[in-house]
């Protein structure tokens, strides 16, 4: 027994009163793995703690001291030592600087309770927590819509409170600056959809219906949806990130204590700007998407510009066009409200900004699709097609 408890890093002297552990060499963080290789089994079998004599140590740091105590107090490798055994260890012969480290580690170790293992959540509990989180999110959203409406009504009596300057700043950011990306996206969608129609209709020789199809699809569904999704990704996320960062920066608190209402200054101008911007951009999308269709019908179907425009004029789908423009402000209201609400719901850490921004985009897109489906059913049943 006494022979087996000896290696490059330590040896043990046993006596009737107990044993003494003589660690030797450099017990430091970088050598821990090597030392542990020799510590396959506990050094003591009884509950008699060893004494430690540090006279042969060449270097010691806190990690080394910890390992030394673990071994001497009957731990196997690095785990399992009981704190009270560690506290009962007797330390002798340490050099002054090593003694400092050893006693610091011992003192801190004895002072704290060993951590209790934390029970993880079961699947059922996780589902429950998620459900409550979603319900809380819905509740917050409803509460926020209420607050927004209250703020809006207060504008009726004091219209001067509306932040005209902030509104135009936002309008520029969400509308004017978005025109290039909206044009690009809708033009490509126009090309794709016209191509799809053309491939089918050419088979029946019904080439001219490509024009009807493209204009109808763009005006009724594609332009409103594509533009709304683009703005959800572009402006809704920006609202959340801006307001969230302001919240972390305590700007919102500063605003409130200076007597400014974040609702009036931040939220309403953004919502108003998006509600104005989305129909305009949808209209732009209608035109540019149809021009994308013109491109295909000219090169693929052989319908030139004049024939294309004649057909559009003769057969313009007014109802669908108005319906598309009607949907846009509703989408916009949802995107803006969700974006602002998620921004104000940001917690005081950087991670939260990222999570909420992602959530804004996902929620907005889901709502856009849901609303669009509702509109489709509603207006079809009302005979509006």
């Amino acid at each position: 027994m006494a022979e087996s408890a000896s290696c490059d890093w330590w040896y043990i002297k046993r006596s009737p009163a107990g044993g003494t552990l003589y660690p030797r060499g450099a017990w430091q963080l970088r050598n821990i793995t090597q030392i542990l290789r020799f510590a396959k089994e506990p050094l003591t079998t009884s509950h008699n703690p060893l004494k430690i004599d540090g006279s042969e140590l060449s270097a010691l740091d806190t990690a080394g001291a910890m390992l030394m105590f673990e071994l001497a107090a009957g731990g196997k490798g690095i785990e399992g030592a009981e704190p009270n055994l560690v506290c009962a260890l007797e330390l002798n012969g340490f050099r002054e600087n090593h003694a400092h480290i050893a006693s610091l580690v011992k003192e801190r170790w004895c002072a704290h309770e060993p951590s209790k293992p934390v029970r993880g959540y079961s699947q059922v509990e996780k589902i429950g927590q998620e459900t409550f989180a979603i319900a809380k999110g819905m509740q917050d959203l409803v509460a926020f819509i209420g607050e927004t409406l209250v703020a809006l009504f207060s504008l009726i009596f004091k219209p001067k409170r509306f932040r005209v300057r902030e509104f135009f700043v936002q309008l520029e950011a969400v509308c004017v600056d978005a025109i290039p990306i909206v044009c690009l996206v809708t033009a490509l969608i126009g090309v794709v959809i016209a191509y799809l129609f053309a491939m089918q209709l050419v088979k029946y020789g019904a080439n001219i219906f490509v024009v009807d199809g493209v204009v109808l699809a763009m005006a009724r569904e594609l332009s409103p949806i594509i533009v709304a999704i683009t703005l959800a990704g572009r402006s809704g996320s920006a609202f959340t990130a801006q307001i969230g960062t302001m919240k972390i920066n305590q700007e919102i608190d500063a605003m409130q204590t200076s007597g400014l209402s974040p609702m009036q200054v931040l939220v309403l101008p953004r919502i108003a700007a998006l509600i104005v911007a989305l129909p305009i951009l949808t209209f732009v999308g209608d035109i540019v998407g149809s021009l994308g269709g013109l491109f295909v019908s000219k090169w693929y179907v052989g319908i030139g510009a004049s024939a294309f425009f004649d057909r559009v004029q003769a057969n313009f789908p007014y109802k669908s066009f108005y319906l598309g423009l009607l949907k846009a402000p509703v989408f916009a209201a949802f995107i803006a409200v969700i974006g602002c609400q998620m921004g104000l719901a940001v917690e005081n850490n950087a991670r939260s900004v990222g999570l909420n921004t992602t959530s804004t985009v996902v929620q907005s897109i889901v709502w856009i699709i849901i609303l669009d489906a509702l509109f489709a059913v509603l207006f079809a049943n009302a005979g509006y097609y």
């Binding site: 806190t62 690095i78 006693s103 002072a111 704290h112 309770e113 917690e347 950087a350």
Partner: protein, 245 residues
């Protein structure tokens, strides 16, 4: 030689921040860098840490000129010092335990059990209960965040510790206990501590040496008592600021 700063000049466009700053830290001690706002204390710290390059001059850590080192060599040096940033700079996406685990994973090949034991020891050294492990940084108070950050900076048994305003934002009781902790660690672990501070109690309580920056130069460099008696308007108003209240 632990740290050597030699004739550092820093200019941002036309504004000169440092105009020949030099000092040497040779033996383990607690050194405080003081100076009024805008005297370039934080800039100097960032330069020493290799986050910013001085316009000219030489900075050596552990006898090696950091300008001449490759990224790998610099990282080997970085494993030998710990940094405590002003607000802790904990990674907000990680729990306390994961935060302290980061340096181990970057620099050491150790088994997970060894690392968790070491993490608990580090937390204990920083005066935190082991339950703190599972918390997210956002759930901690300012004082606890600093302690966790201290535990993280102590992870790899550094020889040198940089602290950027360790007691700012702490209440006086917490501030003094943090000072005491730093001094205890310094004495027992043989650490060199280089700190930036505005706190007069820290200065009197735990520092061995004070370096005062003014007008882009080292104004005076010596033990706190000596610096306090130095005849310069800023030093005078600085050290009498508490007496006036």
């Amino acid at each position: 030689m632990i740290l050597e700063v030699e004739n550092i000049v820093t200019r941002f466009r036309k504004q000169t921040v440092h105009d020949g700053v030099s000092f040497v830290v040779e033996k383990p001690s607690v050194i405080a860098l003081i100076g009024g706002s805008g005297t370039g204390k934080s800039v100097l710290l960032r330069e020493i840490l290799g986050l910013l390059r001085p316009t000219s001059g030489k900075i050596s850590l552990f006898g090696q000129d950091i300008k001449t080192l490759s990224e790998d060599e610099l990282n080997a040096i970085r494993a030998r010092y710990g940094v405590l940033f002003q607000d802790g700079a904990l990674f907000s996406a990680l729990t306390v335990e994961e935060n302290i685990r980061v340096p181990f994973e970057e620099h050491m090949m150790l088994s997970p059990e060894v690392v968790s034991s070491l993490i608990e020891l580090r937390l204990a050294l920083a005066g935190l209960a082991p339950e703190t492990k599972q918390k997210m940084p956002s759930e901690l108070s300012g004082g606890m965040r600093k302690r966790v950050a201290l535990a993280r900076s102590l992870a790899l048994e550094p020889e040198l510790l940089f602290l950027d305003e360790p007691t700012s934002g702490l209440d006086p009781i917490n501030a003094r206990s943090f000072d005491h902790l730093i001094r205890t660690l310094c004495d027992s672990l043989g650490l060199t501590v280089f700190l930036i501070t505005h706190d007069l109690d820290t200065l009197h309580g735990i520092t061995d040496r004070v370096i005062a920056l003014a007008d882009g130069k080292v104004l005076i460099d010596g033990p706190p008592r000596e610096v306090e008696r130095f005849n310069h308007p800023w030093i005078k108003s600085y050290f009498s600021s508490r007496a006036a209240t």
